[in-house]
Symmetry: C2
Subunit: 352 residues, 2 copies
């Protein structure tokens, strides 16, 4: 199978010849070509250049040998297109004027994907054409809770307290903020699929901070609109939260694939999610801890999945920025080789 | 029932006349008496003074009307007693020389609770004597993963990557680090119960970052030694992690009570834990969001517990430092009044 074929088959719960692999934050990091670019360009400059960002995504996929390329596009680009003043720091996005009042929400504009985020769409087209069947192309978008949390808290926060306070204290304002974010995001993900993205991963990184009832009331309706749009456009909708154990089934509702973080067991996640394909969940700390720990971690993830169809191998969180590309390449090779030897894989998904 | 009687009955899974209440980080915060003290003393100065720290804990319990007083004692005090150079910043503890090598672990001393942490024990005795049956006394200790994470990362970190890297890359070194932390902690919690603490809460705040298998291998053996020591000494062992959904049953093993964070449903937690008493889990964001949101949150938590015996009401995470004491007092009153009217409570725990 080709890389793209393998990825798409796994996302559809079909049998594969080997488990497909990609890594969150694989585009960029310590890749020599990326480091060279960074000497002359900021992260946002690269992200805004179709040429440069396409090159970063393609180089990562071909250098690492992954079955998918993920676009080099910060999840806050769409918010910036909505008129938010944004700075990307090493810790994460910082907002010029945090959103606290109805006026702030009213001041947000609905972005037009073609006009305002065309550079991402253009880059997707280039990566799609450049990689052909070698690797699938994954677009990215920020989940409604995470984008709203950054906009309200104004900076990366351990507990997103300002956002959650607004959510509970002014639920109408919260709903209108999520409406605005979602209008832009829906257009953006549809356009990404139209431009050639095989899948879009909705990163609702901090949504795990909410309990199941709050998630259902304050986030899920909006997320599900976005996931449905990705699928209606013909794309694979991957849904990820960074500490999602308590809301796993809810993340799965409407998604094609659920990203499982490293704080969970893939085995438990699969029992909870039934036939729904999953992505994950090698602990990035293991990738950074030397090959014996990495290799054992790969075995653990494959064993926990137990040869079931519908598994895309990934880290359970973004890989650390200083991860040696050679280690990631070794992970890809090991996953491909070992999964190809798994009995159930030989039976083409017989344990489904 | 008295406050202390109500708290101890709930921790033992026995019927109560009303659900007992306390709040994580209730001692300190925005209490006027505490703010007055802080004008002249640092947090560590207050914590190291039996007189001042006892006053803070007692004033909080009596002002707020809680059924338990929690000691004003940072979870890193025991690490400091092991010879670690420590600074408490607004973001959390910062370590002078992070631990990375065997030499660093060897340089840690095993603290003697009486000699090195006598000020905490002295304070516990004063609070115990001062509050009598009015409120139970809860001591605190840092969980082995969380203490180790601070020692290795050196500062508060979103993902504790340095610690988890060391855990996977040098498991022998990790084990010896946890051995040292645990030796000191075991002595410390035993002494706290001996000094009059009715319960000790083991705060393994960041342990939820680990998956179930890693938690079982790299943390649980040490935590369970500490929990067992608290119980053998005659105390109630409360076990808390801040995002513990994926390891909930494991947190419960060996504990008297499991603290449930706001990212979970108490109803789901109770189904998973069987008869084990639970503590939690009002979202602190609701406490900060105005009374309608707070009041609805109280109802939700009580409804999710559905009148089962063995419930201690608390927030699901520490209350924000700027929370108005009057709001917390209102929460205490509302929980007491509403829970006393619950049908199952009237039946003295009939739904057990």
């Amino acid at each position: 199978m080709t890389g793209r074929g393998r990825f798409l088959a796994a996302c559809a719960g079909r049998a594969v010849d080997a488990t497909p692999v990609w890594f969150m934050r694989q585009s960029g990091g310590a890749l020599p070509a990326y480091l060279a670019l960074r000497e002359h360009h900021s992260v946002l400059e690269i992200a805004r250049s179709p040429d440069l960002s396409a090159e970063v995504a393609m180089t990562a996929a071909t250098t690492l040998g992954t079955d998918a390329a993920v676009m080099f596009a910060d999840i806050m680009l769409a918010a910036e297109a909505m008129g938010v003043e944004l700075e990307l720091t090493a810790d994460g996005p910082v907002i010029g004027r945090p959103i606290r009042h109805a006026d702030d929400v009213a001041a947000l504009r609905t972005a037009d994907a073609e006009a305002d985020l065309g550079f991402v769409l253009d880059a997707i087209g280039r990566v799609r054409a450049g990689l052909g069947e070698g690797a699938a192309v994954i677009g990215v978008a920020g989940g409604p809770f995470t984008v709203a949390a950054y906009l309200v808290d104004g900076r990366p926060s351990r507990d997103q307290l300002a956002a959650r306070r607004l959510m509970h204290g002014a639920p109408g304002l919260w709903a209108s903020l999520l409406d605005r974010i979602t209008e832009t995001t829906v257009d953006y993900v549809r356009a990404q699929v139209g431009a050639g993205a095989d899948a879009v991963q909705l990163f609702d990184s901090w949504a795990g901070a909410l309990g199941p009832a709050d998630y259902e009331r304050f986030v899920a309706p909006w997320s599900r609109r976005i996931l449905a749009t990705i699928r209606e456009a013909g794309g694979v909708a991957i849904h990820f939260a960074a500490a999602g154990a308590a809301i796993l089934e809810q993340l799965g509702e409407g998604a094609s694939v659920v990203g499982v973080d490293s704080g969970q067991s893939i085995g438990v996640a699969r029992r909870r999610l039934g036939a729904l394909p999953v992505q994950g969940n090698l602990d990035p700390a293991r990738v950074a801890a030397g090959w014996p720990a990495t290799s054992a971690g790969i075995d653990d993830v494959l064993a926990a999945n137990a040869g079931r169809v519908g598994h895309i191998f990934n880290t359970g969180h973004a890989v650390p920025r200083d991860t040696a590309p050679s280690v990631l390449r070794d992970v890809v090779d090991a996953v491909h080789e070992r999964s190809a030897r798994l009995p159930a894989m030989a039976l083409h998904g017989g344990t489904r």
